[in-house]
Chain length 780, copies 2
């Protein structure tokens, strides 16, 4: 969690390198702050080297006359003056994990904040340079990132220090840190400060140069005296090249940040037009989520009305995975670095009849190894799921027109077959592939026929297939032996229900009079339509029957939401046992960082556009199509996917969902990061109609006499989720810094859904389950 207190201004001090004067300038900051009448906390979480030379001792020694205002503290002390990751070994100590370490720092800070009432400052000094190893072996920047404290960078005034200062600053930017000031010694020979002041002024960063310390004298007493004198000089509020100005500047930054945060909600309400939001229902500051920063699965959100001793920022679980995009956590350094490298190497470059390495690599892996494996021949890039579906529809319409010989006069009448509850994106053409409804606009023209689909869920603790009466009269809810049984399509193809589905589809299709040009499915799970887990057998039968009736019919799988392991499998194609002609991926494709989408097509579809006439080409493209940054991020995301798919956490989770047979558990296809017992239990609660989980997705349908998009029943059922109290059994939460967290979640009428990243930790998911269960319990 990001810690932000009105009365306690905290700055974290990073060094451009080891030995650049971090402790000296920290001491100066502490002393100058105390001289301004503030209480000052100096925190050096890790100190290496002899105790007598420890940094906190240095601060104490040279602030003795102000000691009633200064509290200095070291949390981890090691004897050897080497990098912490080595020091911990030399001392035969057990190195804390980053989580434990950060929690202990956060706990200390919270204690300080709660024990002081007057305006206070804290300086937290890191060890070595910005990327020096921590006790656990990660680096300073990555380890401290969860606390997201504003920072001061101590620049390097020595030969070469211009370079190391700029590089250190850039590494801080890559992790999103707020750099309120760069401070360095005013070395008059190398004059780095002169260069750096001009360099950073252009970039809007504040640089201050402070007189350098005296040479160390051999006599300890003389040394103490000149050092004391030095601190006296630089801390003197009247010294223009002293450190008092830095303190004032940092205090201004703190005030400015609080002021900005407190104004953001109302400013947003007057300048922004939000998507999918009825502004008439947004009534005040409290109705807007003000996001200061984010890390892993959590936003840091601003809360103006917290008591003054609490942090104004609070971790909030990103329960919609930021609209189903988030895959590897916010501020993931691997994705940031991939984006940066591509931006630096290419920027955006035009794509038609051109190629660059990130796009080529991405196209090849999607077609040859990824969701296109075994059937796709081409990748067509666009910007989002909606545009990629528009491309898919254009591909399908052309392919069908060419192959079926339908006359041009009938082109506008070409229709689609799909399922009720489908959603393929918000552009008008993509909406025309869906029924008319609350989402559609004046121009909407429902071009097709939509089947009401049977669905799968846990009801009262048992796996249930709910079959609409149109499909099967009399029997609506069929109890299934198990979830794996439901998804074993080859076995189920021979069941009587399969025949019921076949007959229903045959009959319905034979009654459609307009020419049907394409079958469009969201395989297994329809998202925006209400998190409907469709009986996969029905979708398989639909594809089979439709293709048998009309061989020219191209089939589109819209995997924008379900693809790339969102529901636990790379693609739904192997499970369904049929290949589409066209498929679409987006969202997880870029790991939750940037917009980018891809439409994959088989060779048959590609051929429908192939000729020697330009007019026959697929004349569709967006300016930033296949932009190198998006492609590079997608490649990095696919790399991360490969890793997480082999992770222990996934093996464990698969095991929990697998039938008792151990060997199968590692390969279970139907599984979830959510616990099966939790899912079953939830489905037995009074207010709950049904529950289903797959991969990262949990959907809870609450009982509602008037369900639908405009219902608020799910929202009110889960209101208690905004309570931030930790579970009593777990004093520290899995949120960054162990802070109590609340949950940001979105509902679709009477359905609340919760979604994790692909790499959310088991402890986070367990904590969420606990919160969800308790929220529902309080109301049932």
């Amino acid at each position: 969690m990001s810690l932000l207190y009105k009365h306690l201004r905290i700055h974290q001090i990073f060094g451009a390198n080891t030995d650049v004067g971090k402790t000296i300038l920290s001491t100066g900051l502490v002393r100058a702050s105390a001289l301004k009448g503030r209480s000052v906390f100096y925190l050096k979480p890790v100190s290496t080297g002899p105790l007598t030379q420890a940094d906190d001792q240095h601060v104490t020694r040279y602030s003795a006359q102000l000691k009633d205002r200064i509290i200095s503290k070291c949390l981890y002390q090691f004897s050897e003056p080497v990098s912490p990751h080595l020091a911990v070994n030399i001392d035969n100590a057990v190195s804390p994990t980053d989580e434990t370490f950060v929690n202990s720092v956060a706990t200390y800070i919270k204690k300080c904040a709660s024990e002081t009432e007057r305006e206070s400052y804290m300086y937290l000094e890191t060890a070595g340079g910005v990327h020096s190893p921590t006790l656990s072996g990660t680096t300073q920047l990555d380890c401290y990132r969860p606390l997201f404290l504003p920072t001061v960078l101590i620049g390097d005034s020595r030969l070469g220090g211009i370079s190391s200062t700029i590089s250190a600053y850039e590494s801080m930017l890559l992790r999103g840190f707020i750099v309120d000031a760069i401070v360095l010694f005013k070395d008059e020979y190398y004059r780095n400060w002169e260069y750096l002041k001009a360099y950073f002024a252009e970039r809007g960063v504040w640089v201050s140069a402070v007189d350098p310390p005296p040479e160390i004298l051999p006599d300890p007493k003389a040394n103490f005296s000149i050092t004391e004198k030095y601190y006296e000089t630089i801390s003197n509020p009247d010294n223009d090249t002293g450190i008092g100005g830095v303190v004032d500047h940092l205090t201004e930054c703190h005030a400015k940040r609080l002021e900005d945060l407190s104004s953001m909600s109302s400013r947003a309400r007057s300048a922004v037009w939000w998507p999918f939001v009825q502004h008439g229902l947004v009534n005040g500051d409290q109705d807007v989520t003000v996001i200061d920063s984010a890390q892993s699965d959590f936003f840091n959100t601003y809360h103006s009305r917290t008591e003054s001793s609490s942090s104004a920022l609070r971790p909030t679980f990103d329960g919609s995975a930021s609209w189903w995009t988030q895959a590897f956590g916010h501020g993931n350094p691997a994705l940031t670095l991939a984006a940066s490298a591509a931006s630096g190497r290419y920027g955006h470059v035009i794509f038609p009849q051109a190629v660059h390495a990130p796009a080529l690599r991405l196209a090849e892996r999607l077609v040859q190894k990824g969701p296109g494996k075994g059937w796709a021949s081409r990748a067509f890039f666009s910007d989002d799921g909606a545009t990629a579906m528009e491309v898919a529809l254009k591909m399908a319409l052309r392919t069908f027109s060419r192959e079926s010989g339908v006359s041009a006069a009938d082109y506008k009448q070409l229709g689609i077959v799909g399922l009720k509850g489908s959603y393929h994106g918000d552009t008008i053409g993509a909406m025309d592939a869906c029924e008319e409804g609350v989402y559609t606009c004046e121009w909407h023209d429902a071009k097709g026929f939509w089947f009401e689909p049977p669905s799968v869920s846990f009801k009262h603790g048992v796996v249930t297939i709910s079959v609409p009466s149109l499909v099967k009269a009399n029997e609506h809810d069929i109890v299934a032996p198990s979830l794996p049984w439901v998804y074993d399509i080859p076995a189920r193809l021979h069941t009587p229900l399969a025949q019921v589905y076949r007959n229903h589809v045959e009959f319905a299709l034979s009654n459609i009079s307009t020419p049907i040009a394409t079958l469009v499915l969201e395989p297994l799970l329809m998202g925006a339509g209400g998190m409907i887990f469709v009986d996969p057998l029905f979708q398989r039968v639909l594809v089979d029957v439709a293709r048998t009736r009309t061989p020219a019919l191209p089939v589109i799988f819209d995997e924008v939401f379900v693809g790339l392991y969102r529901i636990g499998m790379e693609s739904t194609i192997p499970l369904l046992g049929v290949t589409p002609d066209i498929s679409v991926n987006a969202k997880v494709l870029t790991g939750g960082l940037l917009p980018m989408a891809v439409t994959l097509a088989n060779d048959r579809v590609f051929q429908a556009f192939l000729s020697t006439s330009k007019a026959d080409a697929l004349l569709h493209g967006h300016s930033y199509t296949a932009n190198p940054v998006g492609c590079a991020v997608a490649n990095a995301a696919l790399d991360l996917i490969e890793k997480v798919a082999r992770s222990e956490e996934w093996v464990d989770a698969r095991g929990r969902w697998a039938p008792s047979d151990d060997a199968a558990s590692k390969f279970a296809q139907i599984w979830s990061l959510w616990d099966p017992t939790f899912v079953r239990t939830l489905s037995q609660m009074d207010r709950v109609d049904r529950v289903m989980a797959m991969g990262t997705v949990l959907a809870v349908t609450v009982k509602d006499s008037a369900p639908g998009y405009t219902s608020h029943s799910a929202k009110s059922a889960f209101q208690a989720l905004s309570q931030v109290a930790n579970n009593d059994r777990q004093p520290l939460s899995p949120a960054p810094g162990g802070a109590p967290f609340d949950v940001h979640y979105r509902t679709l009428g009477n359905v609340a859904y919760f979604m994790t990243s692909l790499n959310s930790s088991a402890s986070t998911v367990r904590a969420l389950e606990d919160k969800i269960w308790r929220a529902l319990s309080e109301l049932s």
Copy 2:
């Protein structure tokens, strides 16, 4: 230009800091390379300090016995061992500009490449750390970036060196550099190599540790002897911890890079489906632009069939500004850093009813200071021009429906008024706002009425308004007194032509039977429709007449292409003298880096969606709406726009286009980076029908008996642009490294257009003008 020779493998050596052993390891690389029988070039462009201690002298001294294979060279020598930007002052020397400096380095490299035929290696050693200042005061990385040589980073083996090595690497990534290896000394106390090997192995970067050099001895002779011995040891091919393995690895990287580049065209042709490309016309490797990297206005493109002594990479001017997006050059560090910082701080975070600083800042500046100034109240974000136009259409349809009381039964019939040649993006809804044509798909439903517009251009050297016969019988081409006169709408509103336009529009509108719901314009310039510069008076009259007839009619300005100074003005609104109800921006919005678009609306439009019912809200949104990275990049781009708009280059260019009155020149609204004399001259050439330039855009229409989208006449007229010879009068081109360059450009049937960035240099534009003029001359 990026230099890449098959026979000459070049690596540039950067240091993680000063004094990390760059020269020693370079010497080792040179010696080990020579021992493998290669010719070796060692280039130290800048050396500071006493000549006897110069780095090139060091290399020569310790490679004496191999001297017939080694050529070492220093280009700039200064006497003081300080940062180059200070050394140049101390010596009272004139510091070269980065351009001059890089050109001199490139010239030397080209000389070496042409003078050697056998397989050779070159090591180019930089000065200090990666961000140490250059002679001109920029930093190493930014200065050398135009050469885009693959690199070796010399890591820091000292205390703190882990941090400085990782940070230096990250700074290199931010500029897109290829880092083939990190090499550092194997210091056994700090053991940085151990940590760094593991750290970088995870990130796919090769790290090698080399035995450290001996301590320097006081006796020069003894020192020489142990140093010589040291080099002998580390250069020994049999030494496992020596440098021979590094040389082999670099050679493999070089081979791999060449192999990759040579396969990219054919691999792209089998895995990629390009937008707007007829694959049936893409016949071989030579038909694909293989982009290895890009910098400022130039791509570095691969050419397989260059003679072996020429670079396989060549600068190619990005003549379409990468589909009209590029604003500040490829690989712009300010945009990269903005993207990185937002990625590190937020990743993507959900936007509905939420806010984060980059989105809020962007919304406020667009609405309050930018194109929305004075009329807009809200910013709605989406991903590209097409989706932003879909949003605009949905806004307009709702607003009109509410205000006009049209019945729901007529919703589908609601039409638009626009101009023939309009283009508003490729999604089906956006296409429905345009006439049927080559771009439209099977579902296209032309929902409106489109006026054939009068246009403005230079014909035979004079400013001409071409009026279609539908508007004005008999007189088609009207000679205008000047270009500023054409765009002085207040004055022209009282001319007889204005009345002719009024009558025509009145008559046409009164004959439309379907309800017209919105007027949609690309103000001043219609891009995809053929780079048509519309007579602004006609657009003004159209808005005035349509609004007078139907006060409920919302007006949409599609400024996706023309906005944000693409044609020399921030917005067309002040010039046209009417405000729209809705406007759309994209492309330049993110400076040419990432997809992002915004739809601005006035309060009247916003009110049409405001109620207490969720179903009335604008239910449209994309997953990555207002993603922080895109917003942060847009903010950085708008900052850069503010700077360039005040630049000398723009003042000069405005001056060339202004009437003789000097005071007016700085504020000329109608101006271009293209030279007015060049534009006039071009319009007088035999093959040219007409020419027009505004802002960064130059459009040349060639005479063609069968024009239209599928015509190839413009393409063939400008064929000579792919010739790369420099103008004889200018031995060095304005391309990076001064290399001859070719031009990547796109045509629309018989129209060829050329587009610069907003910050393209005058010398680049002059060189392009020269090329264009010569290309047309050769064929006329």
